[in-house]
Every structure is written in structure tokens, then in C-alpha cells.
Amino acid sequence: MAKPQIVKFKFPESLEEMPLGPSAAAGILTEPNAGWRVQRPVIDHPKCTKCLLCWVLCPEGVIGKENEQLTIDMNYCKGCGLCAHECPKDAITMVQEGEADDQ
């Protein structure tokens, strides 16, 4: 899935490079924005039937597929838990950030 690319923001280096009033080009992502996630989803792959309901429902579009296995882009997952709540096979569980190393 096409995700916005992280772009390094170029700060002004002189007064002349300052914008006219506080404004800047929009749509520039300077860092991944999932830093405020409290819980993260973990997929139990043997349980997963790849029905892709999570792919349909994820509000951030972070569900992907790699080698016939579903993946979650943790740079953009906000940890809302919608996927875990809706998974018909209960193949996704929410775990506290920092408590589980398992993806």
C-alpha cells in the first residue's frame, strides 16, 4: 500500500528563507506518527484465515501482505484495536506496548 514517504524538513537557514507568515508546504510527513500508541495488535498467523476483514476495516490502512502472510505497518498503526475487535477468528490480540517483543 502506498504510504506517505517520510521527508526531511528543510528548516530556513537565513531570514530570507523564512516563509511569509507561519506557513509551509502541506502533506509533508517529517516523522512516523504512531508514537502515541498504547497497545499494538499482534497477529496469530496459524489462526489467521486471511479473510482480510481487518484490511477493510483498518482506519489507517496499515494492514499489508507479505509472503502470503498479513503484516501490520507499525509506523502508522495508532493502536485503536478495531482489527482485534472485529477479527472473526480472534486471531489478533492487543498487547501493551513494551510488554511483548513478538510481532
Binding site: P12, L15, L20, G27
Partner: protein, 397 residues
């Protein structure tokens, strides 16, 4: 004022109507406005112009003055020329947005009908409303009559939209004495105004091909530089105001003199300084007293911001005494105009060794090194070196 105009289109208008005609001639795209005495006639005339298809613009009947300025800002943000008008309580109500507009550098023009602020409540004129908006970052001009009001609406766009300025302009006209007094006003021809004031091509606009974020946060590390830019723009405006006055005069025949106008000052021993409608009355008294052989003069202060510091510095050696008429008072001290003029006089006179350090804006650190630097600059002054009277301390560059 020098009038070489061959007035061809005279009409009997009150000040508010003159402002409405001025606005119409500037072809604003968007006019969000809320009526308030004594500005109401401006709103009424413009709404009639729009209803009768004499003006092609989006007229928004907003729910408050705060909304009026918000809507004007939104319009300017997409590159539209915006106009609005208010007075007194309404101006106070939009106070927050005045800062937003100037800080975001949107060249909006607004007419303000000068009226006192409650309480005690009263609809009649003084200049406390606009003088209290001194630090909002708006250019402020005070006009003497309806003709100047009309002309200054047109000039205001030329000033505000100049590349070197990009700062909003407030055209102040005294409530009732000017807004409701009829006089013969020359309404310039549309084609002449079109030549004088080309269509607005914003440098500071968004469109679908150029998406931008506006009015965003500027952290402590960056905020003060924006303020420095605003101060630079105000400094630039002094020159632009003179240029626009000349260009306007060349086109329409009326020269107002830029930041100030002197009336019979050349050999004057005593002067009065004033702003707004009172100027006309003073002119008459000056003429009468001059006929009696008394050396009196008048300084019409037209622009309160940017303040004509250099002019008043130069005045200090020319006269024996000066009176300043303030239609306002900053309780606990004195009139706002007097404070500024006295400060300008003092800076060239008995306390020329003062430096104003601008520091600590928006949380910028004032460090021990900065303080030491300030002291060293003062020593530099005492040793006879030149130092600028106003210095930003702690800028990035």
C-alpha cells in the same frame, strides 16, 4: 494636502457611503461584515451594490465581528481580496483575529468607524477603540473627511498588498462627525482605479496545486523571527506609504503627504498635533490665529502605525511648544498618541542614549550572555559609538 484633482464625478455622500464607494472601486472578492453603529451605512450600501449587481463579490452576512475577520482571513488565504468594516465593540470583539491576520501576513483592508468603548456605553466618537489595537500588527491610518476615507481605502490595498509590506491596513474614520456627515466627494472612475490597483495576486495563498499549512505553530526556536519580519514589514511600509501617496496623487490629483501632513508649520512657534476629523476644525483655527499674526501650526498625524518616528525626531528642534490632542487615554498614564510623540522627541533630545531591546518573544531565552551584551552595547553608546535605538536580541541570525 495638495489637491490638483479635476473632480468630474462629485456626489453628495456621507463618510460611510464614501467608504462603501471606495471598497466597491477596489473590486474585493469577499466582504464578510457585521453591522454596528456608526459603521452600519457602509454595510447597507455595500449590500445594495451587491444586490443590484453593481459589485461582483461574495457578500457574507456573518454572525459576529470575530467571524467577520475569520472569514476575511479565509478569503485572503485562497488569494481573494477581502474587505470588512467595523467599529468600537465590534473591533474589540475581533481583537484575537487581528493578531492572526497580521501574523499570518494577509493584506486585508478594514474600515473602522471610531467610537468609544463601553462602559459607560455610548455610540459616539473617540479613538480608544483603534488605539487599543495598537499592538495587533495592523497598519493604522486616520482620515480627516469622507474624501480621504474613500481615497485611503484604495491606497490601503496598494500599501497592504505591496510585496515589501503584506500587512493588513485599518482605515479609521471618526464616528458620526465623519461617518454621518455629508460632503461633496469625488468618486474616481473605475478604469483609473483599475490602473492604479491591479488585481490581487497573492504571494501567500493556497490552491489545489500548491497545498500549504497556514497559521501553524512556530516553536520558541522559530517564533521570534516571524515577529522580526513583521517589524521589518512595518519599517518598509513607511517608504511604501510615501510612494503610494505620490502614485495616487499623480493619478487622481490628491496628495495627502504620507505619514504626516504639516499645515502652516514652516515658521510656527507652537504646534498642535491631532488625528482624524478634528484636523478640519484645527485648520480653521490656525487660519484665524495666523490672521491675528500668531505663529501657530498643525501637524496632522495620519499614520499611527507605522509611527513616523523620524519625522517627530526632526520636529524637536523646530518649535517652542507642542500640544498633542488625544481622543483616548491610557488610564494610569496619558494619551497613547502623546506617549509615542514624546518618546520620539525624547529620543532625539534629552535622552538620546536609550536602546530598546526586544527580547524573550514567545519563550525565547534571555540568557546571561544576552544581558551582558546589552550592557556592553550601553557602554558602546557612552563611548560615542552609534547603536540602533531598537534592537532584537537573541535572533537566530
Amino acid at each position: 494636502m495638495i489637491n490638483k484633482s479635476k473632480s468630474s464625478n462629485l456626489d453628495f455622500l456621507n463618510g460611510d457611503e464614501a467608504v462603501a464607494y471606495g471598497a466597491k472601486l477596489c473590486r474585493p472578492h469577499v466582504i464578510p461584515v457585521y453591522p454596528i453603529t456608526p459603521q452600519t451605512i457602509v454595510v447597507e450600501r455595500i449590500s445594495e451594490f451587491v444586490a443590484n449587481k453593481l459589485m461582483d463579490c461574495e457578500y457574507i452576512h456573518v454572525e459576529s465581528e470575530h467571524s467577520a475577520m475569520c472569514a476575511a482571513m479565509g478569503a485572503s488565504l485562497v488569494g481573494a481580496r477581502a474587505f470588512t468594516a467595523t467599529s468600537s465593540q465590534g473591533l474589540a470583539y475581533m481583537h484575537e483575529m487581528l493578531h492572526y491576520v497580521s501574523g499570518s501576513r494577509f493584506p486585508i483592508v478594514m474600515m473602522n468607524a471610531n467610537r468609544t468603548l463601553a462602559a459607560p456605553w455610548n455610540i459616539f466618537g473617540d479613538q480608544r477603540d483603534s488605539l487599543a489595537q495598537r499592538d495587533t500588527g495592523w497598519i493604522q491610518v486616520y482620515v480627516e473627511n469622507g474624501q480621504e476615507a474613500l481615497d485611503m481605502i484604495i491606497q490601503a490595498y496598494a500599501i497592504a498588498e505591496d510585496d515589501r509590506v503584506y500587512t493588513p491596513v485599518m482605515v479609521n474614520i471618526d464616528g458620526f462627525v465623519n461617518t454621518h456627515t455629508y460632503e461633496l466627494v469625488d468618486i474616481p472612475q473605475q478604469k483609473d482605479v483599475d490602473e492604479f490597483l491591479p488585481p490581487f495576486k497573492s504571494r501567500n495563498a493556497i490552491d489545489f496545486n500548491h497545498p500549504r499549512s497556514f497559521c501553524m505553530t512556530a516553536s520558541t526556536e522559530w517564533n521570534m523571527e516571524f515577529r522580526f519580519q513583521q517589524q521589518q514589514a512595518m519599517d518598509n511600509a513607511k517608504k511604501v506609504i510615501e510612494e503610494v501617496d505620490k502614485k495616487f496623487g499623480d493619478k487622481f490629483g490628491r496628495y495627502y503627504g504620507g505619514l504626516v501632513e504639516e499645515y502652516r508649520c514652516a515658521d510656527a512657534e507652537v504646534l498642535l498635533v491631532g488625528m482624524g476629523s478634528i484636523i478640519g476644525t484645527i485648520r480653521i483655527v490656525v487660519d484665524k490665529m495666523r490672521d491675528m499674526g500668531l505663529k501657530v501650526g498643525l501637524v496632522k498625524l495620519r499614520f499611527y502605525r507605522p509611527f513616523p518616528l523620524e519625522y517627530f525626531k526632526g520636529l524637536s528642534t523646530r518649535v517652542k511648544a507642542m500640544g498633542i490632542i488625544d481622543r483616548d487615554i491610557s488610564f494610569g498614564y496619558e494619551g497613547a498618541v502623546a506617549s509615542d510623540i514624546k518618546s520620539a522627541l525624547a529620543s532625539s533630545w534629552f535622552c538620546s542614549k536609550v536602546i530598546n531591546f526586544i527580547a524573550g518573544i514567545a519563550g525565547r531565552d534571555i540568557t546571561k550572555e544576552h544581558i551582558e551584551k546589552m550592557y556592553n552595547k550601553l557602554f558602546s553608546l557612552t563611548q560615542g559609538h552609534d547603536e540602533k535605538e531598537l534592537q532584537f536580541i537573541g535572533l537566530r541570525w
